[in-house]
Symmetry: C2
Subunit: 115 residues, 2 copies
Amino acid sequence: MLVRDYRDVHAQETGLDGVTVRWVISVPEGAPNFAMRVFEVQPGAVTPHHQHPWEHEVFVVAGTGEALGEDGVHPLSPGTTVFVPPMEKHQFRNTGDEVLRFICVIPTVPEALPQ
Amino acid sequence: MLVRDYRDVHAQETGLDGVTVRWVISVPEGAPNFAMRVFEVQPGAVTPHHQHPWEHEVFVVAGTGEALGEDGVHPLSPGTTVFVPPMEKHQFRNTGDEVLRFICVIPTVPEALPQ
């Protein structure tokens, strides 16, 4: 088994202001079906308002914010879980004063992985 | 999207003393590829020392304990991630004084899902 603290995994820039991602368990670690990432969104920062053919399964670890879905805005705080179905347009926003940190799991389909 | 606090999902008995599971995102919620569960292991309690053909991707949210793999024992604390490859024998143990709470994601293969 591979055991490590998520903080020991490099926080990569995403090209978005105030948003980094740590690929904690993915194809390089041997994951055959899905990948676990940890996102960190700084206060005031947001993820893209976009859609794609793969789903997200999210668990909020720290901070506060909101998730925008096709049905409106939902509050986020530690312990909130979010299922974003394939092709639903979505965005995560940090509306608080501290970092918004969440786990986001995706399938390891090639189009969802870093190029 | 489906947004809810993990605490609003029923903590099911597992048949193991001091171990419950909340299926927060799975097939009934529309998950096509993998399922997110939240396990709660009470002080002194352990999960089965077993193996199976599917992988685990784990993130420790609270508490302390250890993960037993085929390579030995690894400490667990908040922020520890664990990848258990398919067929590796493993066990999670709460060696602390508080509940050990961790996210555990599995593929939605029929043999891994509740019967």
